[in-house]
C-alpha cells in the first residue's frame, strides 16, 4: 500500500474533554478523503492534528513512512522545527480564508515561498502567477484581499497553499463561510485538484462533493470513525442508525427529484 499518511490510535483531549478517542486511518497518494460528521464529532480536530496545528495527546502519525516526532518514555515528543518543516509539505485551507490583509494577492502567495522555502522573489512570483492561473484568478494578482469576493478569497487561499508544492492538502470547511452562490466555484477548483491527482483530506458539509469527488468517506461520531468506505456505499446505504440520522438531517429540505 502506498500510504502517504498513516494515523494510529490518535487521541486528543482538551482538559477533561475527549475530542478524538482512538482514530486509525491511512491516506494513499492521490486519494481524496472526505471527513463527515456533526459539529463536535472531532472531524476538524482530526484534520488539524494531521499538520500538528493541534498536538495529539496520544497516538502516532506517519508521513511518507516516517514517524513524526520521537517516542521517549512512551510519550511522543515533537520539535517545533520538525513540525514547521512538516507543515510546508502539507497545505491547509481554512474556513475563514485567513489571507494576509496587508499584502496583495500575489504577495500572499509568495509569502510562504520566500520566508519559509527561501525561494528568490522572481521564482516565487512566477510560481504564484502559475498557481493563480490554476485557480482562475490571474487578473487579481495585484488586488488586496479586501477587494475580493469570498469565493475568490478562498481560491487565493488554495493557490497560496499550492504554491508550496505540498504533498497533501487539508481543507477545513472551506465553503462554510461562503454565500451559497459562491460555493460552486471553490468546489470546482477542489474537484480539479482531485482530478490532477492531489492527495486531499477534506472536512465538509457538502454531501454532493463527498458523493461525486471523494474516493473514500470517513464518518466520525464522538471522536471515533463510525463508518467508512466508498461514498456511493456509505452515503447510499449507511450501516448505522447514527449515520442515517446525520444524512436525514442534511437532506431534510432537498428538492424533490
Amino acid at each position: 500500500m502506498n500510504a502517504i499518511l498513516r494515523i494510529e490510535n490518535l487521541h486528543k483531549r482538551f482538559g477533561d474533554l475527549t475530542v478524538l478517542a482512538g482514530i486509525d486511518a491511512a491516506v494513499e497518494a492521490g486519494e481524496t478523503v472526505v471527513l463527515l460528521g456533526s459539529s463536535g464529532s472531532g472531524k476538524s480536530t482530526l484534520l488539524r492534528c494531521i499538520n500538528f496545528m493541534e498536538t495529539p495527546t496520544e497516538g502516532r502519525i506517519t508521513l511518507h513512512g516516517r514517524l513524526v516526532g520521537e517516542e521517549r518514555g512512551g510519550v511522543m515528543r515533537y520539535r517545533e522545527s520538525e513540525l514547521c518543516k512538516l507543515r510546508t509539505r502539507i497545505g491547509m485551507v481554512f474556513q475563514h480564508f485567513n489571507l494576509f490583509p496587508h499584502m496583495t494577492v500575489l504577495r500572499n502567495i509568495m509569502e510562504g515561498q520566500v520566508t519559509v522555502l527561501k525561494r528568490g522573489a522572481a521564482e516565487a512570483a512566477a510560481k504564484a502567477r502559475e498557481q493563480l492561473a490554476r485557480v482562475g484568478l490571474s487578473d487579481k494578482a495585484d488586488e488586496y484581499p479586501a477587494r475580493l469576493s469570498g469565493g475568490q478569497k478562498q481560491r487565493v487561499a488554495i493557490a497560496r497553499a499550492l504554491a508550496m508544492d505540498p504533498d497533501m492538502m487539508l481543507f477545513d470547511e472551506v465553503t462554510s463561510a461562503l454565500d451559497p452562490e459562491l460555493v460552486g466555484e471553490v468546489l470546482k477548483t477542489m474537484r480539479r485538484l482531485t482530478e490532477e491527482g492531489m492527495t486531499m483530506v477534506v472536512v465538509t458539509h457538502e454531501l454532493g462533493f463527498a458523493y461525486h469527488v471523494a474516493n473514500r468517506v470517513l464518518f466520525l461520531d464522538q471522536g471515533v470513525i463510525l463508518e467508512q468506505g466508498e461514498p456511493q456505499q456509505v452515503l447510499k446505504e449507511p450501516a448505522t442508525q447514527r449515520m442515517r440520522e446525520f444524512l436525514d438531517g442534511h437532506s431534510l429540505f432537498k428538492l424533490p427529484d
Binding site: 490583509p101 520566508t115 497553499a161
Partner: protein, 221 residues
C-alpha cells in the same frame, strides 16, 4: 490686576530659547526612539508563552506605569548614583525616566494591537510552516502597528511634552531656558507663555502630519 504684555526680553533672548528647543528635540528624539522601540520589545515579551519572558516584562510594565516620570527622573539623578556609584548626568536621567515610562505605556499599546489580530492570521502563518517569530514579524506586527498608529502617535505627543520634566534636573531644554530668562528679566508670564507657544507651534503641524499619515494608511487597505 492689570498685566501689560511685553515680549521684548523674550525676543531679545531668542537664542537662549533656541538652544533650549534644540535640547528638547534631542531628548525627544532619544526618548521616542527608545520608548516606542523598547516598548515593542516589552510588548512582544508581554505576549510570550514562556513565563521567562512574560513575567519580567509584566513586572517592568507595572513598575514604570505606576510610578510618576518626574519621580523616576529625580531618582535616577540623585538616588541611582549613590546606590550604584555610576555617575548620571541630567540628560541620561531624563532619557532613562521618560524612556522607561514610555516603554511601559507603549508596551501595553503593542500588546493590545497584537491581541486585536484574528487568531486565523497566526494559523495561516503557522500552516505555511512559518516559525512564531516569522509570523509575528511578517504577518501580525505590520497589521497590528497600522491599527495602533493613532495610539502610538498620541504617545509620541505625550513624550514630546514630557521632555519639559528634564528641567527638574537642570537639563538645558526649553522650559529650563525660559526659567533662566524669567529669572533674569522678571518676566515669568511672558517666558512661560512663550514656552507654551513654542510647544504648540511644533506639535500642531506635527499632529496634522500624523492625521495625513493615518488617512494614507487607511486608503492603502
Amino acid at each position: 490686576m492689570e498685566h501689560t504684555w511685553d515680549f521684548a526680553a523674550i525676543l531679545a533672548n531668542w537664542r537662549v530659547l533656541w538652544v533650549g528647543l534644540q535640547g528638547t528635540l534631542i531628548v525627544f528624539a532619544a526618548t521616542v526612539t527608545l520608548g516606542l522601540g523598547g516598548g515593542l520589545l516589552v510588548g512582544v515579551c508581554r505576549y510570550a508563552k514562556t513565563p521567562l519572558l512574560r513575567l519580567p516584562s509584566m513586572a517592568f510594565v507595572e513598575v514604570f506605569r505606576n510610578t510618576p516620570v518626574l519621580v523616576q527622573i529625580i531618582w535616577f539623578y540623585y538616588a541611582f548614583p549613590i546606590l550604584t556609584g555610576i555617575e548620571v548626568n541630567p540628560f541620561l536621567a531624563a532619557v532613562l525616566g521618560i524612556s522607561l515610562n514610555t516603554m511601559a505605556f507603549s508596551a501595553e499599546i503593542y500588546r493590545a494591537g497584537i491581541q486585536s489580530i484574528e487568531p486565523g492570521q497566526w494559523e495561516a502563518g503557522r500552516a505555511l510552516g512559518m516559525a512564531y517569530q516569522q509570523t509575528l514579524r511578517r504577518i501580525i506586527l505590520p497589521v497590528a502597528i497600522k491599527r495602533i498608529l493613532p495610539a502610538l502617535t498620541n504617545r509620541g505627543i505625550e513624550v514630546f511634552k514630557m521632555s519639559t520634566l528634564a528641567s527638574v534636573v537642570a537639563y538645558v531644554e526649553t522650559l529650563n531656558q525660559a526659567k533662566l530668562i524669567a529669572d533674569l528679566n522678571f518676566n515669568p508670564i511672558e517666558s512661560y507663555t512663550a514656552v507654551a507657544l513654542i510647544f504648540f507651534a511644533v506639535l500642531y503641524p506635527a499632529v496634522q502630519g500624523t492625521y495625513i499619515l493615518e488617512r494614507m494608511l487607511r486608503k492603502s487597505e
